[in-house]
Symmetry: C2
Subunit: 327 residues, 2 copies
C-alpha cells in the first residue's frame, strides 16, 4: 500500500466540505479563509504510543483521541474549531490501521465540523501529531491569564474518570479476572472516558465573555489550576469535598484513591475556569442550556499557588503534582 | 530538566516579535491575526530520525531542516511565511539537544521572520513535526493544478545536490578515507545542501501571478513534476541535457550518476513551476533581481505523465520514480 492510497483513505473519511476550505488535501499546502473580524487560534498536540496511550489501544480510539486533545485546547480558548492537519507516523503502511484510525478521527471531526485539510504520513514508531485551527471574534479568546481575586473557580463535568480508566486497564491486565457485571459496566465507562474524551467545545464557546481565565485539564486538576494561578499571578483555594466525581469512579475505587485521581489524574479534558461572581448566574444558565454540568470548587485568592482544603479546613502543604513529561 | 524548561529554551530562541502574534507560547493555544484580504496557507511535515535524516545529523541541522522543509511548501504556494508550531518528540529531556536544535530552527526562522507560536514536547523516539502558516492575497495561491499546454517548465537553482550529499555521507562512513582537499570541499557543499536546505521563499512570492503551477522538489524532480502533470491533467516533456547541476555535483560523481540524482534525488527543495510563454521574460527579470537562478527544462504537453528526453531525442519509457514512503 503506497502513501498516496493511505492519504486517500484519510481524505475520504475526514475531509469535510466547509466553504472556508479553498484548497484541501493534495497540494503542497492547504488554503483556507478566516472570517472577517476574527482571530485565528492554533494548537498542536502529539500522542506517542506507549506514552500517551497504551499500545493496545484500538486504532479508532487513537484517531478519536488525537483530535480530541487538540479540540480540547481550542475549547479552553473559547474558539470555534475549523481545520486540522494530521501528521501520522507509523511503522508500516497498514491500510486496516489507517482505515480504523480515520473512522475515529472522522467521527469526532464530523461532530464538530472540523475539516482535515492536510498533513503528512511517514514511516517510524507510532506517533500522531495533530494541529487544529479555530477562530474567535477578535479579542474574545479566553486565556490562562485574567483571573481576579474573588473570582469563583469552576470545573465542567466530572474529574478522575480517565485516570481511573487507566487504572482499570492496568488491573485487568494484571489480574486477568473478570469483574462482576456492574463493576464491568463502571470500568467500561471509565475506560471510554480515557479513550474517547469529549472535548468541551460548546461549553468553551459559551464561556466567551464570561470566564476570566480558562484551561483544559490534561495534566491534572491541581497542575492545570496552577497554570491559571501562575499566569494570573494569583492563588487558587479549592475544597476537596467539592470535587465532582462520577458514580462509576466512586464505585470502582476507595474514597482516598478517588480524591487522588480527581486532583492529579490527567486526561480529563474538562474545562477549569475562573469567573467573576456577577457573571456566575448567566454562566450557569448558559451551561444548563448546553447540558454541561459545572461545579464550583473554590475561589481565586491574593497569594500564589494552589491550596486544597479538606473537610476540616486543613490544606495540603504540597498538593499532588500533575502529569509532566520527562520527569 | 523539566518540560517547561525545554519550552523556555525554544521560546527564547525562536519566538520572534511579530505584531500579528497576539498570544504566543504558554497558553492552551496561540492567537494570531491574518491581514485583511488574505487567505491562510497551512502545511505540515514530519522528520523521523533514521528515515528523513541520518541519526548522526547535528541537532542544529535537524532544527534547521525541520522548518526548512515546511517553508519550502509555503514557498511552492507563493505564501509569505508567518508562524510555526513545533511538535518535538525525543527520547529524553536533553537540554543540549534542544538548545542546539533551537539554534538551527531559530536561525532559519529569523531569516524569514517566522514566529514559533506553540507546540508540544513529548517523550518518544526522535521525530519532529512542524506546521507552518503563511498567507497570500486572496486568490493568489499557486497550486499544482493550473499548468496549460505550451507552458514552459522551469526549475530554480540546481538539482541533485542533496541526494549527492547523502551519498557522500554514506561513502565517507563506508571507506573512512579522507578525500583530497578539493573533493572534501565539494562533499561538504553537497552535504550542506542536504542538511541546511534553503527554502525558496522569496522566489515563491515572486512567482505569484506569473507561474501557472508550482511545486517544491522534495520527492525528486520527476515524481514532483508528475504531481503537477497529474493535478493539471496534462503531460510534461523535459530534456535531460537541460537539468541544472552544481560544479560540486559534477566533480563528485560520474555523469550517469549525476543525471540519476538530478532526476530522482529528493530533498532538493527547489521550486519546479510552469509558466505561460508570454510571462517568461517578466519572471526572468524578477528572479534575476532576487538572485535566483532559473532554468527551463521543457514544456507542458497535451498528454499525461512526464517524459525525459536524452540528447538523441529518445525518451525513457519508465522514468525514475521519486521518493515514496512505505515502498
Amino acid at each position: 500500500m503506497a502513501e498516496f492510497d493511505l492519504i486517500e483513505i484519510l481524505k475520504q473519511r475526514c475531509a469535510s466540505r466547509r466553504d472556508d476550505v479553498h484548497l484541501g488535501i493534495g497540494d503542497d499546502a492547504a488554503v483556507v479563509a478566516l472570517p472577517a473580524g476574527h482571530e485565528l487560534v492554533i494548537c498542536t498536540d502529539t500522542l506517542v504510543a506507549g506514552v500517551h496511550f497504551p499500545r493496545e489501544t484500538a486504532p479508532a480510539d487513537i484517531g478519536w483521541k488525537s483530535l480530541a486533545v487538540n479540540l480540547s485546547d481550542l475549547a479552553a480558548m473559547g474558539a470555534s474549531p475549523a481545520w486540522a492537519t494530521l501528521a501520522l507516523t507509523m511503522p508500516e503502511a497498514d491500510a486496516g490501521f489507517v482505515s480504523a484510525f480515520a473512522d475515529g478521527f472522522g467521527a469526532l471531526a464530523a461532530r464538530h465540523d472540523v475539516a482535515l485539510i492536510g498533513g503528512d504520513t511517514t514511516r517510524g514508531p507510532l506517533a500522531i501529531t495533530v494541529t487544529t485551527h479555530g477562530f474567535v471574534p477578535s479579542g474574545c479568546a479566553i486565556r490562562r491569564k485574567g483571573a481576579q481575586v474573588g473570582d469563583a473557580v469552576f470545573v465542567s463535568g466530572t474529574l478522575g474518570d480517565a485516570a481511573g480508566g487507566l487504572r482499570c486497564l492496568q488491573s485487568i491486565d494484571e489480574s486477568g479476572a473478570s469483574a462482576l457485571m456492574q463493576q464491568k459496566a463502571n470500568q467500561e465507562l471509565l475506560i471510554s472516558r480515557l479513550n474517547r474524551p469529549q472535548p468541551r467545545v460548546a461549553a468553551g464557546i459559551g464561556l466567551r465573555g464570561l470566564a476570566s481565565a480558562c484551561i483544559d485539564i490534561s495534566d491534572g486538576l491541581i497542575a492545570d489550576l496552577g497554570h491559571i494561578a501562575a499566569a494570573s499571578e494569583l492563588g487558587i483555594d479549592i475544597e476537596e469535598e467539592c470535587l465532582p466525581g462520577s458514580v462509576a469512579l466512586f464505585e470502582c475505587f476507595d474514597m482516598n484513591t478517588c480524591r487522588t485521581l480527581q486532583k492529579s489524574g490527567g486526561d480529563d479534558y474538562e474545562l477549569a475556569f475562573t469567573i467573576a461572581s456577577a457573571k456566575v448566574e448567566l454562566m450557569r444558565i448558559a451551561m444548563t442550556e448546553l447540558g454541561c454540568q459545572v461545579t464550583q470548587l473554590g475561589r481565586v485568592v491574593a497569594r500564589t499557588g494552589v491550596r486544597v482544603f479538606d473537610r476540616n479546613g486543613q490544606h495540603n502543604v504540597s498538593p499532588e503534582k500533575g502529569w509532566e513529561h520527562f520527569t
